[in-house]
Amino acid sequence: MAEDPIVLCEGNDDAAFFTQLIRFRELRSLDVRAPTREDHAGHSGFGRRMVALKTETDIENTPAIIIVRDCNADPGSAFRSLVVQIRESGGYGVPDAPRRLARSQGRMLPPICVLMLPWDNQPGALETLCYESAAARRPEIAECVDSYVRCVQFDIEAWGTVKHDKFRLRCLLSAACPSEPNTALRYAWSGDKGRPTDLVPLGHRCFDEIANFLAGFDRTLEARF
């Protein structure tokens, strides 16, 4: 019996983030899902995954599907492109704004909600928030990372803020984790192989809005129906 809302993530990094955030903040249980195939990962793979989900046994008993995607440089465009995928997958409700629940047309599919990262209309990605948290925990490394960014002449104008955030987080994770300098974000909370467990502290206030949204999601469901 499916009773937990499904959280559809772009990839393994954000799936790990949501799993750990739920655990750390003691939030309600959610069925967090990463793509099972590399070619369906990322923001362009949601449509195919939504089509497949229609067939899942007991999907009609799932309270909701929360789709999580990065805002990137243009939050409006990112949201609209996701809406197109939801509409084209057929049968689902189509939200008109982030964090608004849209009822599906038939009774056999759950309502849909979109959560944009870092938040509704803010450019950036999950890494934007994670870097803020990681940098606050290790300001001395963050200072060096900023120097490194200047030293290698990282062109923010050309590459954009999202890649800037990803670049800085990558550097910080490597510097803070000498036992496994190639630690991907998805392993930032694993604590294994000598990795510190506080690489990206989930108690940081930058994650409060997301945590509050998830904590209050049952009320969102009740209010909508």
Partner: protein
């Protein structure tokens, strides 16, 4: 490795006729009322035990049969007694035929409505005749007030009705037959197609000059089979295989259950050309690595013979093996998940596009 491009190219030549475009079951086994619309060429049925998968195949089989005797075969394939005791009393008559009706309630008409893509609607029904008669021979007889009404199997197609009755008399049970209207073959999960039946079908295929194509399809999975022929085995015709490295020809059933089943399915599809092949628990007997080629062979044979398929499976491995064949041909497939709700069997139907996406995403949809 299965080539989707090859299959797509063979799809260009097949005709569009489908024996069943829509289906309605009324009062049949676990179905009080069930409707399926827009059935494509390949209908793959999944679902838990007792959800009506096999019953759906049985309904189509009976609607395509030419005698109530088909219902007795279904009983045997279900594992009920191979032999039945015929007694002239109503309760044993009901035991034999009553399980065809929804919850065994025989007072309501059981019927199946089918539409095809060319000839329109047809109806198959089973009812007890309202009149029955009992002849008491002259002389002292115990009074038996129970009259056994005849059971009528009716096939209505193109405005013409064919009726075959089942009647009990002092002499025994009389079962009628009518001319067969629609070709259908049922590959049961438990029943092995007889060597004689396979030999007969192969003989027809061979006479039509299609034996080399058939051998090629078989060799795609079993390359050690070098040739097929019909020989007598204990006086009964059977298909024998010439096997690489073996001097003596070997009867196909002795080569392996999977080979025998695959051959039976392919011959059945040829036999049911232009009709419907009903395959229960497709995966049984097949080595997992051969499953993609089994799918390919079945789909190719159906496209070439204009045959529609309804098949059941429990196996995720079997469903995943279908993916290379489905890709590029999604509009010819549907996934039907049978569910049991409030004591009734209910279908959920998904498109081939949704089915393929679900396999790719490893969604649990059975």
């Amino acid at each position: 490795m299965v080539s989707p491009i090859e299959l797509a190219s063979s799809a260009v030549t097949y005709k569009e006729y489908l024996m069943i475009t829509s289906l309605e079951l009324h009062n049949f086994r676990g179905f009080k009322l069930m409707k399926l619309d827009g059935c494509p060429r390949f209908n793959i049925i999944v679902g838990p035990n007792a959800s009506g998968k096999t019953a759906l195949l049985e309904a189509i089989f009976l609607a395509s049969a030419n005698s109530p005797e088909a219902a007795l075969r279904l009983r045997a394939w279900r594992g009920l007694a191979q032999q039945v005791e015929i007694t002239p009393d109503k309760s044993s008559f009901s035991e034999l035929w009553g399980d065809l009706f929804f919850w065994g309630v025989e007072s309501k008409e059981l019927f199946v409505l089918l539409d095809d893509s060319e000839r329109g609607s047809r109806k198959f029904s089973i009812t007890y005749e309202t009149k029955g008669e009992l002849t008491l021979p002259i002389g002292k007889q115990p009074i038996n007030s129970t009259i056994i009404a005849p059971l009528s199997f009716r096939w209505l197609s193109g405005g013409k009705e064919s009726i075959a009755e089942v009647e009990i008399s002092e002499k025994g049970m009389k079962i009628g037959t009518v001319p067969a209207l629609f070709p259908a073959v049922f590959v049961s999960s438990s029943h092995v197609i007889s060597t004689h039946e396979n030999a007969s079908r192969y003989s027809r295929l061979s006479q039509a000059g299609k034996e080399l194509d058939f051998l090629n399809t078989l060799q795609a999975i079993y390359p050690f089979i070098r040739g097929l022929s019909i020989e007598l085995n204990a006086g009964v015709p059977a298909i024998f295989a010439t096997v690489e490295g073996v001097a003596k020809k070997i009867p196909i059933p002795l080569l392996g259950g999977g080979i025998n089943k695959y051959l039976g399915i392919l011959l059945g599809i040829q036999y049911a050309a232009g009709g419907v092949a009903l395959i229960d628990e497709m995966e049984n007997g097949f080595f997992y690595k051969s499953l993609p080629q089994v799918w390919y062979g079945v789909v190719k044979a159906c496209l070439e013979t204009n045959t529609q398929v309804f098949l059941t499976t429990h196996s995720l491995e079997c469903l995943r093996a279908a993916l290379p064949t489905i890709k590029g041909n999604e509009n010819q497939f549907s996934l039907i998940r049978m569910e049991r709700r409030e004591g009734q069997c209910v279908p959920r139907v998904f498109t081939g596009h949704e089915f393929a996406a679900a396999i790719e995403q490893e969604i649990e949809f059975r």
